[in-house]
């Protein structure tokens, strides 16, 4: 089968649009979608200038998603003096797995001449995920601990690095799964938070002064296309599954979405189109009443919504001590 645009051999069929694309036109189409998302979410503010450059910190794990995001943002902004990119990598203490993906991050940022910061749970918290899963004092999935620690470090270091924006490599599949999970859990408050945390255009979000704003410029691109982009462009993405990965409910939703997408191409896109609109309405509705009083954790000083008590990270660390 030939590419619809140039007649070269197609590398994929996007059933949701009917397009057959060759490697070059698939890559160009992905880059176009990422740039359009950057524009639509108004990520480059008017006040950005060569004299007042914006620092964008990218959560760079070394997996395909964050590597592709870093490459495309670099290609887009390398010549733009208004935007400075920094790669932030977190080592969770997972033997064999994270060591290799850190190598991918070092290689990529060296190739692109991007500042790279590496922090670890061990240095920051004195714990390693390999030990946490053995200890497991709260009887939780590994991802439940890891997510709390990762969010804490991403926020803290984004702030320390003077970030104006914290970007992550969530793709269309990730976001459609989260949307469906929030919907099926009936959690409208969480849907509203999702809009203010990362989905809405920056100027439309509720006041987020306490946190560095987040963005997900890959969220219009299906996961498979992200993987093909990394493969076709020979990017140094690390391709091993985390040995502790255990998000059972998300896995169930993922399987459901694969089936739906196969029978009804475009399902992921339509879920997100409707969900974004719904999240906007929910954020407006919850905006004033839903605001949670924020305070500083008495133990570590990080911003938390739990009044008078320690933040979740400190609670978990105490349980692990």
């Amino acid at each position: 089968m030939d590419c619809d645009r140039c007649g070269a051999d197609a590398v994929m069929h996007a059933a949701y649009s009917g397009a057959h694309l060759c490697g070059d036109h698939l890559s160009a189409s992905i880059e176009k979608r990422v740039r359009r998302r950057v524009r639509r979410d108004e990520l480059v503010p008017r006040e950005a200038s060569p004299e007042n450059p914006q620092t964008w910190v990218i959560g760079l794990s070394g997996g395909k998603d964050s590597v592709v995001l870093t490459q495309i943002l670099h290609d887009t902004f390398a010549e733009d003096p208004r935007i400075e990119l920094v790669g932030l990598t977190i080592h969770e203490g997972i033997e064999g797995y994270r060591d290799k993906s850190v190598d991918a991050c070092v290689e990529l940022t060296a190739d692109l001449d991007i500042q790279h910061e590496l922090v670890s749970y061990e240095d920051e918290f004195g714990v390693r995920m390999d030990d946490v899963v053995e200890d497991d004092p709260e009887n939780m999935a590994a991802c439940a601990y890891c997510g709390v620690f990762r969010r804490d470090l991403l926020s803290r270091y984004a702030e320390e690095l003077g970030a104006d924006l914290l970007l992550t490599g969530h793709n269309l599949d990730d976001e459609a799964q989260t949307a469906l999970m929030n919907f099926l859990e009936g959690d409208v408050g969480q849907i509203a938070k999702h809009f203010d945390a990362s989905l809405g255009p920056l100027p439309d979000r509720e006041d987020q002064d306490d946190f560095v704003a987040r963005a997900k410029p890959l969220r219009d691109v299906p996961e498979k296309e992200v993987a093909l982009y990394a493969h076709l462009n020979d990017l140094p993405a690390h391709i091993t599954e985390c040995p502790h990965a255990s998000e059972a409910y998300r896995g169930e939703i993922q399987g459901l979405l694969y089936d739906l997408e196969e029978r009804h191409p475009g399902t992921r896109h339509s879920i997100m189109a409707g969900y974004e609109e719904l999240a906007d309405v929910a954020a407006t509705e919850y905006g004033e009443d839903g605001d949670v009083e924020l305070t500083d954790c008495p133990q570590c000083g990080s911003t938390t919504s739990v009044t008078g008590d320690r933040c979740r990270k400190c609670t978990l660390l105490d349980a692990l001590a």
């Binding site: 590398v11 057959h20 794990s61 997996g63 395909k64 299906p222 498979k224 985390c242």
Partner: protein, 76 residues
């Protein structure tokens, strides 16, 4: 038609496309890569199919007796 499907990092399957589940024996069009994937319980949205190292569209007819399947790795 027998096809060897090497799922990277996992097992290798020998699939007989004439008898594979979900593949009608009597048919007017040749079996596609998507049907080959269905025979080993993968969705085209969770893998890439490579023939001689090059990705191929899954809606295309299988024209080889050896393919490699790359699973997508979450997060990382």
């Amino acid at each position: 038609m027998r096809v060897t499907v090497d799922v990277k990092g996992e097992e290798t399957h020998e699939v007989d496309l004439e008898t594979a589940e979900g593949t009608p024996a009597a048919r007017s069009s040749p079996p596609t890569y998507a049907e080959l994937l269905a025979a080993i319980d993968y969705s085209p949205h969770e893998v890439s199919v490579l023939v001689d190292g090059h990705p191929v569209p899954e809606d295309q007819p299988v024209e080889t007796d050896e393919v490699t399947v790359l699973r997508l790795i979450k997060g990382g």
